[in-house]
């Protein structure tokens, strides 16, 4: 069913490096993914795995220097975003692609009213007049579930709670009916009960507005709940990618498997001891020439330390970047 939909965003072999004083940091390495209209793609990974940098690279939101996109194609709606002019890109940002940031505390401007901040993209991108923008802003606030919207437009961000502020952020991102919404850990700073409210809201808005969403998170629980497809990132690469039910029922990459095993369960038998992943996440100070997960991997093969695995399709909708196959004996297996 989903195959019938048009691909709206197609990223191929994206590579972003940071040229810092202490040397190069290879933050995003050869990342490819695509997004269809109306779909929700979850991107999971630990901090430093390149999730956010990938998304910011798409819209050139990273300061350059030090950041530099060295390779890759970003096709959005028939245009190659790497080649469009700054003016045109500015129209895409906040217009056709909305962005929700992690921390609602710091991403709203404290000296402007919330109304002003919601109206800003409306007036710039959609050319609405002041009055029309105000009416639309109130509608948006209502849409994200803030009561008494017209009056609250005059309030400043500090007059809102954390959950409410995140709703304002969502309202701003939705202001111009974006085709794609990129949400960078939008619920990480929130409590579980507020997170549940926001997840519910996003599900509802998806139905109503039919936009495509990229949802970045480190919480596998959240992904299981809302995503259609999931990509798992490690050390700046996508190591596994599949439909959500497939990924959770049949994880193939040792990292995905280990991640799922380390999570304590909310029900059922209580484990005596948590399974942990030994070692530390890798430094990104070199180009990946071997599998970056190999030093922590339970199933490491000699090939893993010599060659970086490419993503190979297991089924048309499930691919994994790993030399090991489930059932195969690794060198540490015993």
């Amino acid at each position: 069913m989903q195959d019938a939909r048009a691909t709206i965003l197609d990223v191929a072999n994206l590579t972003t490096v940071f040229n810092t004083r202490d040397g190069m940091v290879y933050a995003v390495n050869n990342v490819s993914f695509s997004l269809k209209a109306g779909e929700l793609l979850g991107i999971v990974g630990e901090s430093g795995s390149g999730k956010s940098v990938t998304m910011m690279s798409l819209l050139k939101l990273l300061p350059s220097p030090p950041a530099e996109i060295t390779n890759g194609d970003i096709w959005f709606n028939g245009r190659q975003l790497r080649e469009v002019s700054d003016d045109e890109l500015r129209k895409v940002r906040g217009g056709e692609i909305g962005f929700i940031f992690q921390d609602p505390m710091t991403s709203l401007n404290p000296v402007f009213t919330v109304g002003f901040q919601i109206m800003e993209p409306l007036r710039l991108h959609m050319g609405l007049g002041k009055k029309a923008a105000r009416i639309r802003a109130a509608e948006l606030l209502e849409l994200v579930g803030i009561p008494d919207a017209m009056a609250r437009l005059r309030d400043y961000p500090h007059q809102f709670s954390g959950g409410m502020r995140q709703r304002v952020m969502i309202a701003i991102a939705l202001a111009c009916d974006p085709k794609v919404l990129i949400a960078d850990e939008p619920t990480t700073a929130l409590d579980v009960t507020i997170q549940a409210q926001i997840l519910e809201l996003i599900k509802e808005l998806r139905h109503k507005l039919g936009m495509a969403i990229i949802w970045i998170t480190h919480d596998l629980g959240v992904v299981a709940e809302i995503a259609d497809r999931v990509a798992v990132m490690y050390a700046g690469q996508i190591v596994e990618h599949a439909q959500v039910s497939e990924l959770f029922s049949n994880p193939l990459h040792p990292y995905t498997r280990a991640l799922l095993e380390t999570l304590p369960q909310m029900g059922g038998e209580r484990a005596q001891r948590l399974r942990s992943i030994d070692g530390q996440p890798p430094n990104l100070d070199h180009e990946p020439v071997s599998c970056e997960f190999a030093p922590r991997c339970k199933h490491v093969l000699s090939r893993c330390t010599q060659e970086n695995p490419k993503r190979r399709a297991v089924t048309p909708e499930h691919d994994v970047a790993c030399w090991w196959q489930p059932g195969q004996e690794g060198e540490k297996d015993a």
Binding site: G221, A224, P281
Partner: protein, 328 residues
Amino acid sequence: MLDSAEEPLVRVRDLKMHFPIYKGLMKRQVGAVKAVDGISFDIFEGETLGLVGESGCGKSTVGRCVLRLYDILSGSVVLDGQEIADLNGPDLRAKRPEMQMIFQDPQACLNPRMTVGSIISEPLFEHKKMTKEERRSKVAELMDAVGLARRFADRYPHEFSGGQRQRIGIARALALNPKFIVCDEPIAALDVSIQAQVVNLLEDLQDKLGLTYLFISHDLSMVRHLADRVAVMYLGRFVELAPSETLYTNPQHPYTQALLSAVPHPDPAQAGGVDRIILKGDVPSPAAPPTGCTFHTRCPRAIDICKKDAPEWRQIGDGHFGACHLID
């Protein structure tokens, strides 16, 4: 309250901690944030009591009060048979080695200008008369215990990753052989793959040294794994306290039920089937808590009496306590 013959290691009764709010030129007191408002609990030797709740509900304040990092407003805190609520000066200082704390942010709780060795040995400096050699060997011993290589003793905190820094914090807390440790969200700042390492370490240390933990966290699934008993807190008060299994399988208070149902399951097959209770609105301000039951403004099952009378904290099952009018 708990009808057990065993004497608890920590006994807290009717603990209150209010922070005054000053306003105006004359700094007159105009109100108080009731961060902790009448809490009673016991922690037995060798056990882990989990303390969960949303941010701003007063979890951390409870931890700090129990360790007497604050001068508490009223109530009693008995640690190992000694009342510490009104201790001061040298008496309190003499009691400090028995109780320690592991902090949330491993970045902020370590002095960036001190080496790891001096961070871990600082409590020894303060509280023990030890020679330099004794201190050095104790530090090495502690670093072994938490899984840090001894040769790192001369390095600085910034050279370590988050998980390793948390290990340094744990080693420092263990330096004086405490009986009781308050863990204030020790894993909240760590990645999933590192969280499990630290939790396993805490469990191993508890087995080996017979430690008693008050484990403060907002991660309900981690608390389920770690704690023997769990207390749920809302706006400065406990709403429910029960053995871990009971609380997670048979929660009685509507807030506990909502909190548990809000946790996303890492399993798409289950995610659809959960009857989720979505709470409306936000946590009210602890400076002006609602009348009656403080939860009634968000409670899906609130009845008239909830708005007027605060429910009594009472036993509702075997080791199971709760404060709600709806529990029979």
